[in-house]
Symmetry: C2
Amino acid sequence: MKVFIIGTGLIGGSFALDIQQEYSEAIIYGIDNNPAHLKEARELKVIHHEANFDDLKIADIVFLTIPVDKSLSVLPLVLDTINDNALVIDVGSTKQRICEVVNEHPKRRNFLAAHPIAGTEFSGPKAALKGLYKDKTNIICEVEKTAFKLQEKALDIFSKIGMRIRYMDAVSHDKHIAYVSHLSHISSFMLGKTVIEKEKNERDIFDMAGSGFESTVRLAKSSPAMWTPIFEQNKANVIETLEEYIGNLQRFKILMQENKFDEVFEEMQNTNHIKNILNGIK
Amino acid sequence: MKVFIIGTGLIGGSFALDIQQEYSEAIIYGIDNNPAHLKEARELKVIHHEANFDDLKIADIVFLTIPVDKSLSVLPLVLDTINDNALVIDVGSTKQRICEVVNEHPKRRNFLAAHPIAGTEFSGPKAALKGLYKDKTNIICEVEKTAFKLQEKALDIFSKIGMRIRYMDAVSHDKHIAYVSHLSHISSFMLGKTVIEKEKNERDIFDMAGSGFESTVRLAKSSPAMWTPIFEQNKANVIETLEEYIGNLQRFKILMQENKFDEVFEEMQNTNHIKNILNGIK
C-alpha cells in the first residue's frame, strides 16, 4: 500500500505515523514544497521516502494536508495525476470551497472530503504525534460523491486509527465549525494581542499569568499561514460568529457599567452548563 | 500551630492539604457557612476539626478564602476576634478594596494581602488539590503594612509549599490582573455563550468541538458566585480591558470584511510570540 502525504507537517505527519503503526505493509511517501521539512520528516521516520508530484501515479492513497488555499489549486492537479483506483483525502478545516472546486472533476469519485477534528497549536514534521486521532471526530462531507470502494478504504483507515465518523454536508460543516473552532482561534489571538499591547513589560505577564490565561490563549500559538486562508475561505460564517461574540461581550460590558451584577451572575450561570457539553470532548 | 481556613473550597482546602503535608504539628480548623461543605471537608481530611467564628481566638494563622465580596465584611470581624500574635492571610483575586477596608484597622499589622495565581475551574472541598501551589506565583500587596514577624511566618509557609513571591501595590495588582486573568474569564464565558446560543442542538457542539475549543472555554466552567464579585470589585479595570478586547476583535472583523488578509496574517503573526511568554508559565 503506497501512501502519499502531501504536506508533511503536524496533520499529515500524524496520519503517516498512525498508518505505519496499523499497516505494516504501508510505504509512506512524502511531498512538501519545503525541502527542509521533507528531509526532517524522513529523518524522523515520519515518511519512508521523499517523492515528487509525478510519483503520485503510483499512489494507492493520497492525503492532502496543506493550507486550505493551496488545496484549491493542488487538489485538481492531484486528481489529474493519480491512477483510476487511487483515493485522495483532503483534511482541511473548510469544506465548501474544496468540494466546489472539484465538483465537476472527472475523478471526483476518487476524492473524499474530510475534516479530522484534531491537532495541536504546533506545526511542522516535529509536531507529528502518534495517536493524535484516537477517539477524535472525523467529519466527512458529501460522502455520496466518493466511489463506494474508496469510501470503504478510507473508513478502514479511520477506524483503525480510532476515529469516529460523522457525515455532514459541506455548507453545514463550514457554518458549525466557524462557531466551535474558527471563532475560538480569533478570540484567543485577540486576547493575546490585547494583553501583549497593554503589558509592554513582558515580565509582568510572565509573573502574573496563570494556567487559566495559558489555556485561553493557547490557540494564539497557532500558525498564521494555516489559519489566514481558513478565515478567508470561511469569511461569511466567521464574520457572523464574530459579530455575535462581540455583541455578547458588549452586552456583558453594559451590564457591568449599569451595575447589574445579578444579570452578570446569570450570564455566567447560564453558560456554566457547558461543563456537561465539554465532558463529551476528548 | 493552629491554622484556620475560612471557606473550605478549592483554594482554602488546597492550602489546608499542603500545610498538613509540610507541618506535621499543624491542626487545621475549618469554618464555612455551608454546613455540607464543612462536613465534606472533614470527611475528606482536608480539615481536622469543624469550628466556628468564636474559635478564631485560638488561631495562630487564618486563611480567608471566600468570595471577595464576603471578604470585605468578614475580614474586619476576623481581625477584631483574633489574638494579637495571629496572622490573617486573604487570598482573593482583587486587592485594592480589601486593603482599603482594613487600612485603619487597629490590627492592620496582623493582616497580609496575597493573591496566589493558582486554581482550577472547579470548586468546593472536593476540588482541593495537594500541590496546587507548587511553582505558582503569589502576589503580596502592601507587604510593609504587615508586622515583620508575621511576614516571615507567611513567607515560611509559602516557601515550603513551593510558591514564588512577587510584591506589588494593590492598585497595580488589580490593573494587571484584569488583563491576565479577569478578561480571560469573560472571553471564555462569552465564547461559551455564543456557541451555546447558536448550537441549540448540543450534539452538534459535542461532535464537532475539539481540544482547541475545550481549552478556550474551559474557564466558562468557573463559579459565577466567585467571579461576579471579582468583576464588581474590579469593575473599572475590567471594563477597560473589555473595551480594548472588543476593539481588537472589531478591527479583526473589519480587516476580514475588507479582504485585507495580509493584515489578518500580520495580526496573528504579531501575537504568535506569546509562545515565548507562555513558556514561562506553569
